[in-house]
Every structure is written in structure tokens, then in C-alpha cells.
Symmetry: C2
């Protein structure tokens, strides 16, 4: 924080704390310069900031600067670029919005249709919003406004600034748990769009357990349009190579759901026998399916994302924060006898 912003922040707090009534004369720049130990020019610029924010107003000649109001709401508007429709992202956005409100800011949601993304992003630069959190649109150009991503990686692409769950740790600890229940005949399922860190974490745990070529146990869905059909194809492939598998770790709750459905279609009673695990703890999937999953703490991701975005707006400091994941419902993992 520079000197000007430091003085402005101090004065903002004094105004908010009720030190000055609306309408009264505000201390002169000379008084402020002396009090804060800065030069007149700095004090003048801090006062100009508060005038621009609508807290102070310049009086007529000889009147000096007057207090207009003692706090500004919202302090700023920030945007969330991404869909908020899915229960998981609804929770991320809710955390973001709640922390924005904690800081007297307002969070806007912007979910443009893909074909309009470019034109909306250009318009957003002049919208008055001060910065963005972004999820599900890859890398976006909002320059000169800062953008914070809510994923650490998608495919092989890495985001410069992010707050996201620690996907590697999530995959690693889930696989450790599966191994601890005695499973060795293990397969994994992911899609081409799954965060590869999740699978890397799982491979690492398998390698540490002395299993060779863990990546050969991964079955990848190349298509997600018709998940039930494509997971059936992939499941058949897995069953052919590992006919007696006792654990199936997946890269998402959604895959786990379709996997369970297809195991049942094939007449394979998996409950209490095969350890199917998900990823995400998505409200409406893992709440009703008897599977263990990885809780990514979506509310916390959104909540911390607002904080990180503020840092970017105020100081431009790079933000790379991992939120720890947590295993949920591990009691659904059966022991291998």
C-alpha cells in the first residue's frame, strides 16, 4: 500500500467510525499532512481519492472540504465470470458473494454464452467492475483489470493467479485411504477434461505402495456428451483388463454416479463390495450415493477467492493459494477380506 492509499485508508476508517458528522468541515490538507507525517501533495491526493469515492466534497471558495457521507456502499463491484447454476459452483459463488458483502463490496455474476464471451469481456473492461474471479472459461483477457482463477489447472494449462483446492492432495489422500482398506486390484476413471493433478495424486499413492505403471489402471472417457453410454464402453474395457477389480477411484462425483448406475445395469452388486469413490462432494450426488468422495470445500474456495482478488486489486500481488481437501464418507469404502 502506497503512502496516499495509507492516509486514505486511515481517513476512511475515521469517517466510518463516526469521527466526523456529515456536513462538517474536514481537516485541511496541511493538518492531515502534519498528522500523518506526509507532505501536502500526498495529503491532497488522499483527500482527492475520498472526494472521488463520494465521502468528501469540495466546498465553495473558502469553505474547504466537507464531509459528504461517512461510508460508501458498495466500496466496489467485483465480478464472477462463470456459471453459477451447478450446485457446486453455486456454493463457490455464494462464498465469494458472502465475503464481498463482509467487506462492503457487491459481487456480480456474469455467465455469458460462450459465443458472446469475447464481446462481453471487452465490455466488462469499461463496466466499472474492479476485478474478476473466473471459473470454467479457461484463460480470459480482462486487462488491465485483474482476474483470479478458481482452478489451478485444467488439462495441461496452468493459471497465473488462482485459489483452488489442492487436487493432487485430494487424489493422493483418497488413494491412500483405498489402499489402507486393503485394496490392490484398483482401477481409475477420468475424462479428458478432468484436472490431471487429481490422477497424478492417485498415481503417486499407488507408486508409493509399490505398484508398477499405475497409469495403466486409468481408463479415460474421451466423450462426455452421452455419459451413460460412454462410461459403459469404458467400464467394459476396464472389466476386460481387470475383471476382479475391488476399487474404482474416479475424478468426479458425476463419473462415480454413472459408474454405479452402469455397474447395476451389468448386474454387478457394488455396494459394500467395490469401493467406488468420487471427487467434489457435490450436493445432490455424493449426498445420496453411498460412496466416499473428496470434499473440495467450495464455499471456502469462493470465500478465499474474494480475499485474494482484493489483494490483487489493492497491491497487484500474485495469488496462488491451495485450499486443503478433506475425505468424506470414507465409511462407505469396504475392506478387502
Amino acid at each position: 500500500m502506497g503512502k496516499i492509499e495509507e492516509v486514505a485508508a486511515g481517513l476512511r476508517k475515521e469517517l466510518k467510525d463516526g469521527k466526523y458528522e456529515p456536513g462538517v468541515r474536514f481537516p485541511s490538507e496541511y493538518e492531515l499532512a502534519e498528522r500523518f507525517g506526509v507532505n501536502n501533495k500526498t495529503a491532497n491526493k488522499a483527500v482527492a481519492l475520498l472526494v472521488a469515492e463520494g465521502l468528501l466534497r469540495r466546498g465553495r471558495r473558502g469553505e474547504g472540504t466537507l464531509v459528504k457521507q461517512t461510508s460508501v456502499f458498495p466500496k466496489m463491484f467485483v465480478g464472477y465470470i462463470g456459471s453459477t447454476e451447478h450446485p457446486y459452483y453455486a456454493e463457490v459463488f455464494y462464498g465469494f458473494q458472502q465475503n464481498a458483502l463482509n467487506h462492503d463490496c457487491i459481487a456480480c455474476a456474469i455467465a455469458p454464452p460462450p459465443e458472446k464471451l469475447g464481446s462481453i469481456l471487452r465490455k466488462l473492461k469499461l463496466s466499472g467492475l474492479r476485478g474478476f474471479a473466473c471459473s470454467g472459461f479457461g484463460i480470459v483477457d480482462t486487462s488491465p483489470l485483474p482476474v483470479l482463477y478458481l482452478e489451478d489447472q485444467i488439462g495441461s494449462e496452468k493459471y497465473p493467479d488462482f485459489v483452488a483446492c489442492d487436487s493432487f492432495q485430494g487424489g493422493y489422500s483418497m488413494m491412500k485411504e483405498i489402499l489402507a482398506h486393503g485394496h490392490r486390484d484398483i482401477v481409475m476413471f477420468a475424462t479428458l477434461a478432468s484436472n490431471p493433478k487429481r490422477m497424478e495424486g492417485m498415481f503417486q499413492a499407488l507408486a508409493e505402495a509399490g505398484m508398477e505403471n499405475p497409469e495403466k489402471r486409468l481408463f479415460v472417457l474421451t466423450e462426455w456428451r452421452n455419459p451413460d453410454y460412454h462410461i459403459m464402453l469404458t467400464l467394459r474395457k476396464a472389466l476386460k483388463q481387470f475383471p476382479g477389480f475391488t476399487a474404482a477411484a474416479t475424478a468426479s462425483d458425476n463419473i462415480a454416479f454413472h459408474l454405479c448406475r452402469n455397474l447395476e445395469k451389468l448386474g454387478i452388486g457394488w455396494q459394500g463390495k467395490i469401493a467406488v469413490t468420487g471427487f467434489g462432494k457435490v450436493q445432490g450426488i455424493s449426498d445420496w450415493l453411498p460412496i466416499a468422495t473428496v470434499d473440495q470445500h467450495p464455499f471456502t474456495i469462493g470465500f478465499e477467492a474474494f480475499h485474494a482478488l482484493m489483494e490483487m486489486i489493492e497491491s497487484g500481488a500474485p495469488q496462488q493459494k491451495h485450499i486443503e481437501t478433506e475425505l468424506a464418507n470414507t465409511h462407505f469404502i469396504p475392506d478387502v477380506r
Copy 2:
């Protein structure tokens, strides 16, 4: 729409359609007055509106009015007061946000903790937002800014302006469906907070089928903190009075979920035998439970709410719109043999 706004709207469209390049001189007020058949004062006020919006700017003496930019984004900010965390409300907000974006507006979400609601509402009046949709906070004071409610009624309180599903119709048509499957030994479950219109619709259908005192078949949960416990108490009461009931119509998917869980706890196999019905088609409840429910079309409610709010902002016209409900998953209602 007044004359001034009419002229402004026409000019806004011309600017957006690319009739004038940024930087060129805009037609004089005299020219505009003649073209639109209004007096100079009206033309002047329409131009002043566009200046205030940032589309035009006053040039130096003799330069006239110049085109600053050809469209403004966002045209306005609107607010959604209410939690967007629950999957149902996430979808309502998503519809609201999508339609806002269709109209070059930006939707903000504001979910204050109840104890801060009053102070946030006061602050919102000066926030620059132009109007609000509101859900789950009862009647709120946002005057002079308009507010549209996303419920038609809660308890006995009626909202002045609303877009909401037709609760009466939903309850009525679900009960008609239950009756059509041959059920006569019917009970109903609601909470004190349930929209009474839902139950009134159910009563109406029962009355039309010649059943006397349908309200005696309604069991109300007085407490929702510990739903599993309280629905068990209420279920036992219902079973005592109607030990052989074949249908249980509830006022929400949530009640239906806890009801199913408790029937199972009591060893009562309900699937394929007792018609349990929900209300809401909440993603993550009725998607996974084999029950019929009432689809309230939350996306459409949010989508239409933006439209209605625009009308309130632009013309102040009262808005009372019911969105039709639709029965979903009625194949789960067993026939009475």
C-alpha cells in the same frame, strides 16, 4: 414511456446500430426535435439523459454535442436479495442473471445475514443499483427503488409485486394425479413455513373428489430444526389416524425426502406401494429419489423476474405473474389395486 424516454430510446438504438461513429458531432436538439416531432425542451432532455449515461458528451463552445461511445455496458446494475446457495435458488438466480445479461445489465447477488439486513437495505438505496428481486426475506423496504418478490405468498402474507410459480395449481394438479391413480386413503405433510396455497390446491382437488374435511388429513411439522426427528413424530401421528394410507403428498421435496427416510426406518417399504410426492423438483433431491414432484421451473421464474423488474423500473407498472407448474416423474405414483 414518456416522450423524453421515447426519444432517448430511439437515439440509443441508433447509436447501438452504428449510425454514428464515436467522436462525431451528434445532431442538434433542433434537428432532433423536428425529426421526432417533439419540442426543443423534450429533445434537450433526451440528449441530457444520453450525456448522463455516458453515450454523448457536451463539446466545447460551438462544438455542439459529440458521440462518446455507442453503447453503455452495463445499462444498469440490478440486485438479487436472497441466498443463492440452495440448488433451487441457484437456478432462480441463474435465470435472473442470464436474462439481465441478455439485456446488457448485470445482476448482483446480495445475501446479508439476517441481523444485517436492515442496515444493508439502507445502504443499498445509495448503491447505484436500480431495483431488486427478493426471495426469502419477507417484505423488505428498498423505497424509492422497486422490489419484485419471487414468492406469491408466505404464510398469510401477500407480496405486492411478484413472479412466482402458481402454488395453488401445483398442489391441485398433483392431488388430481394421485386421485387418478385410484388413491383415496391420502395424507398430506407440510411445515408452518410452507406456502399455504400449495395445500389449498390439494384440498380443492380432494373436495372435488367428494372427500369431506380434507384439512383433517394434513399433518403439520411445527419445527424444522431437526427435520428427521420432527417428521418422525408427525409421521407416527399420521400412521395412528390413517394406518393404511397409500399416498402422502408433501409441500416440499425436502419433507418428502425425510418422510421416505423415516418410512424406511419404520420398516415400511414405500417404493412402488405408497405414493410419496414432493414439491419443487429440487436438483439433488427429486432427481435421485423415486418420487413424483411438482416442477416449479426455477430458471423461468428468475428469467421472467428480470423482465418484470425492468417493467417496474421503466414504467412503475405493478407486476403479478404466475409461472405454470408441471408434474414431474408421475410414473413413480403406484396404482391402487
